[in-house]
Symmetry: C2
Amino acid sequence: MHSFAELSAKFETYFNKRHFPDTPATLYDAAQYILRIGGKRVRPVSVLMANELFGEITADAYSVALAIELFHNFSLIHDDIMDKAPLRRGMETVHTKYGDATALLAGDVMLVAAYEQLNNISHSKLHDILKLFSKTAREVCEGQQLDMDFEKQESVIFDDYLQMITLKTSVLLAASFKLGAILGGASAGNQDHLYEVGKYLGIAFQVQDDYLDAFGDPEKFGKQIGGDILANKKTFLLIHALSVVDEAQKKELTLLLNGNSEDKIERVLKIYSACKVGEWASTLKQTCLDKAIKHLEETAVLHSRKVEIENLARYLLQRES
Amino acid sequence: MHSFAELSAKFETYFNKRHFPDTPATLYDAAQYILRIGGKRVRPVSVLMANELFGEITADAYSVALAIELFHNFSLIHDDIMDKAPLRRGMETVHTKYGDATALLAGDVMLVAAYEQLNNISHSKLHDILKLFSKTAREVCEGQQLDMDFEKQESVIFDDYLQMITLKTSVLLAASFKLGAILGGASAGNQDHLYEVGKYLGIAFQVQDDYLDAFGDPEKFGKQIGGDILANKKTFLLIHALSVVDEAQKKELTLLLNGNSEDKIERVLKIYSACKVGEWASTLKQTCLDKAIKHLEETAVLHSRKVEIENLARYLLQRES
């Protein structure tokens, strides 16, 4: 069995090449650009790890891992256009560097390239793999639309927010695990357990990300603390806070959100602390992690084969919270 | 054998339903909207006609025809965003009605839906169908990028323009014919002939469209005459004119293109007439039509089975030129 670091290095070797023709360079240079600005490659490596649970990692698993990473980058390009985001990982976004029209097309061609990769796998598995991949792709689009819809709403209830985040970010990790399992010849039951592993890890990771944005150590987090608060972003923390605050706190929180006072971050954090949002988030993250681990335990393979996925869960969720 | 009109009616019955879930309505209503604003459905019916050359039309052919029509509408939504087009077939474009972000996502989900349709066909044909479909999808994106690149160039040579138009508009019709043939169990040779039939029909149709925009009868054409000239659009006519005009005409044409004089259309048309652009375009259209018919003749099936495709070619290219 290989560790996340080992498989990450293997995938990087496989991934680190030009994935598009030379011409038209105006289109394909833009598509290639985003693939070079990095990322942890958690999703493709999850395909490989789930695949290895059931035996040697197959060539098909590498094709599907690549398809997943291409799909992920397609969604980043298009999301950045929709969100008008100037930067990603400290680099210019594709539309900032190449213009909206080319970025839109580069995303399109990236999605097509993902399907082309899927078509490299053995014919007997193709239908099942395509089915899950397309279902997931559709759900990711639905999640992005719900996210945009929620931005226009005054209030969002927790269950709706959880569903949105699940679609927007967790189902792709869930599908990555399940796709690896399908290719490994896993039973339907094992496939479903691995889907749940990815889904709950994805949610736990998002809760952690929201938590660290508010309460993290600026040096370790690598981003500005309170960025979500400044941007009035709906997060697990804000959704929960709005559901537990008293009337006075709600009034203050609403005023703070609608304004841009200098001490906005500090005052919102004070309300978060008063209603123990941090403790609640830590508990939620732990609950999700526990569910992921439980589904991993229930996957019917030898425990020794599961250790590296447990390590991955710890690696993803190790940060102080 | 069925006529274009008969198959068009059959396809419409199959097509005329909601192709998306109810929610999120903000996303799927936008996707469904464009499917309802019509179109001649030439591409999906071509799948069916090519399929019928080789036997009874199969359920798989309907799935692929639907996938092709979904793909076509995906490309219309995204092209309209890129071109900032306010109207399509006299109706608001998707991004005008629903906003750029939702239109972008509606296009994405339409492309995924096309692949979902492909996944409904028999497993033994899936790999070959996907391969041609994805190659074509990629080429359509390349064509759109080249079109945008050419808009920024002072001059474009005929061969480059022809390649761009082939990618942007003809390969999808070519693929439609070939996909129908693949599903009909056609030999590789017959598949290739039918690809060429669609490709040359597509080019001939584009030449005719450009011609009618300049020289058509306004009542029959249904669009404003000279629209391409007013918009400084690169067309077969302009590209050819620029390559045959003398120095004085070139100077005048360039001045006209860079300006917005009231008699712009009239004066450009005068130059077109002086260098016999209309005659040249009629000849080019006829040459392409002849090539399409020749490839149809060389397709190894009984001549009686080909009559309806010949009729389709005449139907598409019957308009006065």
